[in-house]
Symmetry: C2
Subunit: 455 residues, 2 copies
């Protein structure tokens, strides 16, 4: 079956990356280039969470053209045989500087920079944008969802149920991982559990209830199989379903271990209140109420603000497809070649030049007060640099951190943001300034290009 399970990822790129690579080789252009990957602007977000770096570093380490990749390229008109033969030895040999996954990031700040022979740095653009854009967009929304679920200070579980409506098979894997870093507690995605060791979770489907002669038959059979399960109560009538759980508890006595019920339709807040009353009246205080169905951060925050007695949220489609902002305005721009700053002059598409660093400052309470984007070789006197060299000569400089370490570090970084940035609405922007030195180099580059163009 032709899908992502092809034997290499080298062809997961745009054709022009390969035609440019061949052109650079013919021209003998092998000098180092600097490319910066950044987001131009935020829409309905007050921050982004950088994510996807681990995928990118694995890709860069393993990048090669398989025999069948080369056979395919030979079949096209664009490439000569010498070039394709040479791809057998192609490896990524460059350096990567990046923010750790889970770092809050703002417009124009490089999430990562690649320094490599220009053909190599160019070839990887498509994959890097593909993975960093999606994982960053997803993690950023996931952090909002988790915050909404807990913004009153009460911990509530959030589970990713979105696989069925995400785009293809790769997205749900990357979403489960980046969501976990951002604070999501578990995923229904078994492949992601296997791939990353994530907690997996799930309840039961309406079809299971419907396949049995009665709802009670279904509840009984499932609890026989999984004593501490969560029972789905809304297949026919939600409150009837809750009463049936109470009946089961009375019948089973001390053997009743059902952990929770799930509501998946109707007015979730009102039903959660009524369900809680029914359960509490029966002494079933330990039976949790989980809800799902069309949820995203605003609906979740409303339920929490209503005081709905909800212990956990299953969040699917609208998180999974990042439905309100399914893409970021990310770019991967050449900012230097062969030691000289480079930029585009097209309207609204200018970029900052050269190798850069982002420096974050904090107040005495540890709250971030602002960022400065500066030339990597000319940093401000104070502040914490955010980009680290994570790859040198094509090899990772460190082992990948554990997901739990990334998740924990991310929670700390989120807690250090100015509180207003956690609002679901847009708030006054976090202050990001461009250092005088960087602005001067960028302006000088634009001026040089305009002068050259005029002559």
């Amino acid at each position: 079956m032709p899908d992502s399970a092809s034997n290499s990822l080298a062809l997961h790129t745009d054709l022009y990356q390969l035609t440019m690579l061949q052109a650079y080789e013919r021209e003998g252009m092998h000098a180092p280039a600097v490319f910066s990957l950044f987001c131009r602007r935020l829409r309905d977000r007050n921050y982004l969470l950088a994510c996807g770096l681990d995928t990118v570093l694995s890709y860069l380490e393993e990048l090669h053209f398989s025999e069948s990749d080369r056979a395919y390229l030979r079949s096209l008109d664009d490439f000569d045989d010498d070039f394709v033969d040479g791809l057998a030895d192609f490896r990524f040999t460059g350096d990567v500087y990046a923010m750790p996954e889970g770092t809050p990031v703002f417009p124009d700040e490089p999430i990562l920079e690649v320094v490599a022979p220009i053909g190599e740095a160019q070839l990887v653009e498509t994959f890097l944008l593909n993975q960093i854009s999606y994982q960053t967009a997803y993690a950023s929304k996931a952090a909002r969802v988790k915050h909404a679920a807990t913004h009153d200070g009460t911990e509530r579980l959030v589970a990713d149920f979105g696989m069925r409506r995400m785009h293809g098979t790769d997205a749900p894997l990357k979403a489960a991982r980046s969501g976990y870093i951002a604070g999501i507690d578990a995923t229904s995605n078994v492949a992601a559990g296997k791939a990353y060791g994530l907690p997996v979770t799930g309840t039961m489907a309406h079809s299971y209830i419907e396949a049995h002669a009665t709802e009670m038959d279904a509840f009984t059979a499932f609890a026989d199989c999984y004593p501490d399960t969560v029972l789905l109560v809304d297949t026919y009538d939600t409150l009837d379903g809750v009463h049936r759980v109470v009946e089961m508890a009375e019948a089973r006595g001390k053997d009743f271990q059902v952990r929770g019920i799930r509501l998946d339709s109707g007015d979730l807040g009102a039903l959660a209140h009524k369900a809680r009353s029914i359960l509490d009246d029966a002494g079933l205080h330990d039976v949790d109420i989980l809800v799902s169905g069309g949820l995203e951060e605003h609906a979740i925050a409303d339920l929490v603000d209503q005081g709905a007695p909800i212990d956990g949220f299953g969040v699917g489609t609208k998180l999974g497809t990042i439905a309100d902002q399914p893409y970021l305005d990310t770019a991967y721009k050449l900012s230097a070649y062969d030691g000289t700053p480079r930029m585009k002059l097209a309207p609204n598409k200018k970029n900052l030049v050269g190798r850069k660093q982002v420096v974050r400052t904090f107040d005495d309470q540890g709250t971030a007060t602002g960022d400065v984007i500066a030339p990597a070789d000319d940093l401000p006197d104070t502040g914490t640099p955010l980009l680290e060299r994570v790859m040198h000569n094509g090899t990772r400089t460190d082992d990948a951190p554990s997901l739990d370490a990334l998740r924990s570090r991310t929670q700390d970084a989120l807690a250090a943001l100015p509180p207003r940035l956690h609002a679901l609405e847009e708030t006054p922007a976090y202050p990001v300034t461009i250092s005088g030195a960087l602005q001067a180099r960028t302006d000088a580059t634009a001026e040089r290009l305009r002068t050259e163009m005029a002559t």
Copy 2:
């Protein structure tokens, strides 16, 4: 690297599918179930194009649990060893009835129905929804984009440039294929070209221009390498870039073979007019103008309506992420088990029961006049049935049709729709009715369930 290239797709499912499978096995519930996959409603679409069936059939034929899948499941608390051992022999043994890919489909109409032992039919829900939902959503938008580009009756090429901002590595493959079926002409995605034999295309990036000392140096070098290339003219100043192409043409004389220019920023309509004048004044009537940058169907239709002299469109992010509607309200619902109709009674989530067929009628000119959803064993006297049996006992009944055959058939099916459905705005809905027999069976099922619930 853990990504879609894992060794089987069996775990690309929600955990509850596996816990339900184990429960069904323990309960000895192996009777055949009927599940229907359909879309509940359209949002900003007048039709959908069914897509993704080939992916689904390949998955069903190859579905198995690898040794490492089983080792992972053993590591979880949910499954006993006998069950996991038995998964070594698991195969999909059911039947599938489906609309051919590229068939226009409307709300409540089954895109496909699965008839299989209930555990098997349940297990595959997540993958089937994941692939059919995305590919159908993408194909549906792609058809709008292609229609917008050609709605004045002039053929214009549309290329898929969206890989870099799609969600993960699998989506761009499936998008390229389903887009081609829907009418997109080519893709920049090399992996998709290799996987499906699709036409691949591309031009050059701004970075290539910027890496050279001057724009003219870059144009010259690239055209030396690819004489019939498309040159990107907006890196510094669009019209200056066009003049440079004219200079090159004058210098090269008969050796000038550049096929086109690409505009990627600014007011594309106005710039296309000016560029066309400059090219025509130089006698370069055969140099095409291609445009890209933030395009989707409305912007494309506006450019065409303005009479902008544009020969082709590169369409990226907003098509690639289906940005206006990144998910469909698809569902996969149990409609019969062990010969008895089944349904959910939850508000707004009722389903039609039993095995169904969709019958489409046409007028004398071959234009579709309406659809009837009917029981598969009780069809109306007239009309063309749309669902075909495509899998029997776990094996495809026919070889997969060629992509070109699907694309051609899709163009015919689109041409047979009432013309109003091609409007980009919502129009009066295409008439879909539920046959009296099907409504009666569905009502009787709801009545039976309500009666049983009340007792």
